[in-house]
Amino acid sequence: MARTLIHAPTTARKGEVMEIRTLIAHPMETGYRAGSDGRTLPRDIIRRFACRYNGELVFSADLYPAISANPYIAFNVVANASGSFSFTWEGDNGFAQTENATITVA
């Protein structure tokens, strides 16, 4: 499991626009670099990120080798109802990770 860092508020007022910041530890090997033996290192990237809010897809992103190592993604979500966020990263070599965060909306 890769280390993740998720900044999401735990409480919010209804209708408030919240900023969510996510970061995951991943080398994002581009597939264009040569290793120490001179051969090209195989590509190993996260290809897709998605955020679901109470099961509904709110934001998703397709990532390419031009995204830096340890991909950082920040976006906004409107606080509609109490519930949970699920963050999913999927990538090469069967990489898949899901993290959750809960939110209470007053």
Binding site: T30, A66, N76
Partner: protein, 154 residues
């Protein structure tokens, strides 16, 4: 002697003015037209639909010291309502090995069309951000970036 001094038509003052003019022409280059590479990548995203400049703001440092992590922020002016929202934003580059940088799908539940991430840049180049609105229109913002330390690609 006085006759010789008066003879040159190109006075020092005019020469200075001309030099200043050349300098301005060099630094105040109008925004370049999209390169073929970028225009092709953009066509792949829009499917040939016309694009307009505006509504999207592509925030990136014009002078990048380290091409390995370049923070970018994409802001689209949109009410993000069910009737009028941003459906997708994407970034394309000119000189990395691959044209695509990132492609995001947005929804009205986001409230604000603002997305930030960090990217790699192989060299000094042009980048374009494009947004697809729910009414089917496409808006772009083109930026030129100078990269002093390139991302390691070879």
């Amino acid at each position: 002697m006085t006759r010789i001094a008066a003879a040159p038509t190109l006075s020092r003052r005019r020469l200075m003015a001309a030099g200043l003019g050349v300098g301005l022409a060099v630094t105040w280059r109008p925004a370049r037209a999209l390169s073929d590479e970028l225009a092709g990548a953009l066509r792949g995203f829009t499917g040939g639909a016309p694009t307009k400049e505006g509504r999207v703001n592509f925030d990136i440092a014009p002078l990048v010291e380290n091409g390995n992590t370049v923070p970018i922020t994409l802001t689209v002016q949109s009410p993000m309502s069910a009737a009028d929202h941003v459906q997708a934003v994407a970034v394309f580059n000119e000189k990395n090995p691959q044209r695509e940088v990132v492609s995001c799908k947005l929804s009205p539940a986001m409230g604000k069309a603002v997305v930030s991430t960090r990217i790699r840049l192989a060299t000094t180049q042009q980048l374009v951000a494009v947004a697809k609105m729910s009414d089917g229109s496409y808006w772009t913002h083109t930026v030129d970036v100078v990269v002093t330390l390139a991302a390691c690609i070879e």
